[in-house]
Symmetry: C2
Subunit: 105 residues, 2 copies
């Protein structure tokens, strides 16, 4: 049992998004990404079994998908995606997301 605080990784970078690995185990991986307004977490996918969640913990932007699709991504929104589906995020304001991947790839 361990406790992580999202306050400890509340840091941004003017050049590109900041990435923090918060937890990694055989069962899942938890990451925090912080994007300054306008920064992009590019659309990508992996040919692996499993799913992930992308939870907006602060700020707002868009969830990105295949074929230039997008959905509003506001604080409190949680995207569920297969690991093999294209997924990404674009920040409108400074934005913090929590990503959980199971099983980890």
């Amino acid at each position: 049992m361990k406790k992580i605080s999202l306050n400890d990784s509340n840091q941004y970078d003017d050049k590109t998004f900041k990435r923090f690995l918060l937890h990694d185990s055989a069962y899942f991986r938890v990451l925090n990404f912080n994007l300054k307004a306008g920064q992009l977490f590019p659309v990508h996918s992996h040919s692996a079994e499993g799913q992930l969640t992308i939870q907006v913990v602060a700020g707002q932007g868009e969830f990105l998908g295949a074929d230039d699709s997008s959905m509003p991504a506001d604080t409190g929104d949680v995207l569920v995606s297969d690991i093999s589906e294209p997924h990404g995020v674009r920040a409108t304001t400074d934005m913090r997301i929590l990503v959980t991947i199971a099983p980890p790839i």
Copy 2:
């Protein structure tokens, strides 16, 4: 790919905590529990492989563990626990937690 909003489950019950199943798949299960101030999510465990996170998305309280142990649980805190370890939550204020269990039991 689907989007869930935590705003849609922002409901409490005076008698006991409210439970919302947000996602269930072969890979993980995501639940939202909302506890009124003073309500308890009792300490429990399951003899199963896997881990879970308990993320405080609003309010504050305590994470509970084995042998009456406790840790402060503030908004932004994430507890990582084996499914087989005793874990629970007590709310000091009205409190919302997001629980992710992988693999689901």
